[in-house]
């Protein structure tokens, strides 16, 4: 029996029978296999629903936590804003006090300058009077005492 005959009369028929019987058996078992697999599909759908529900609950919890944290941060920000407003008010009062003091200082300095000017003018008048007296005294040639320092 040649190789080709072996192939044509033994191998091909055996392979043909194996393949076609396998296909027929698989076709006949298709409904039962499908029933077995359908149970896992329902299980998967239920698991998916559970997972999604769990995830949704997690998301709700997380949203609530974040809302609470946001409220706390808002309250703290309000308190900081109020403290900043108080500080700003105190600073404004201090600035206005400083402006009043500056105005007072300017007024006092102006009064001092006026007083200095008045005293200067008075001094000049006194000096002129003293010179006038000196001139009158020297014009009469009095015997003046010696004021030389003793040696």
């Amino acid at each position: 029996m040649s190789g080709r005959d072996w192939l044509a009369f033994v191998v091909v028929p055996i392979v043909t029978v194996i393949v076609s019987s396998g296909i027929l058996v698989a076709l006949l078992r298709l409904p039962s296999d499908r029933r077995q697999m359908a149970a896992s599909t329902e299980h998967e759908k239920a698991s998916t629903a559970d997972i999604l529900t769990g995830k949704a609950l997690e998301m709700v919890d997380r949203a609530q936590d974040e809302a609470e944290e946001a409220n706390i941060r808002a309250r703290e920000a309000d308190q900081r804003a109020q403290a900043a407003e108080r500080t700003a008010g105190e600073a404004r009062a201090e600035a206005s006090g400083a402006r009043l003091q500056a105005a007072e200082a300017v007024r006092v300095s102006m009064e001092c300058a006026a007083e200095v000017q008045r005293l200067t003018m008075a001094r000049d008048a006194y000096i002129e009077t003293i010179h006038a007296y000196e001139t009158w005294i020297l014009a009469r040639h009095p015997a003046l005492p010696s004021v030389a320092r003793p040696e």
Partner: protein
């Protein structure tokens, strides 16, 4: 991961198998016609044609009914993969290594069918295990 999609390569391959199987009823071609004789020829052409039809059913139900898709694809891959191996043998028997390109193509197709069959079988077994839990 198992994305249930309608793969275009799968659809086009099974369309080709269906068309070739239908055509082989009238004219089986030189390689197959000289390799297979008598009733064996029509059995194999029927296997190829049925595999093509089942593969198209698998593609159409891939998204909506995964179970039907997997089971019909399993059968289609066995039939198509076996026919591709047979076809490679037929070409070799006729032309030996003068038609090595054709041999490589059909052996490659057969490899793809058996590889995909392994993936499908793993998924079917997994689903059955999950159902049994």
């Amino acid at each position: 991961m198992w994305p249930p999609v309608r793969h275009p390569f799968q659809v086009s391959t099974f369309v080709a198998f269906t068309a070739i199987g239908f055509g082989f009823y009238g004219n089986p071609g030189v390689a197959i016609g000289s390799f297979l004789a008598g009733p064996w020829l029509y059995v194999w052409v029927t296997i190829l044609f049925a595999s093509g039809i089942l593969g198209l059913i698998a593609s159409m139900t891939a998204v909506s009914q995964e179970d039907v898709s997997l089971l019909t694809e399993r059968i289609a891959l066995v039939g198509a993969g076996s026919f591709c191996v047979l076809w490679a043998f037929a070409i070799f028997s006729l032309s030996h290594f003068h038609a090595v390109g054709g041999i490589i193509i059909f052996l490659g197709l057969a490899t793809a069918c058996w590889w995909r069959l392994r993936q499908v079988q793993k998924r079917v077994a997994w689903k059955k295990r999950r159902a049994a839990r």
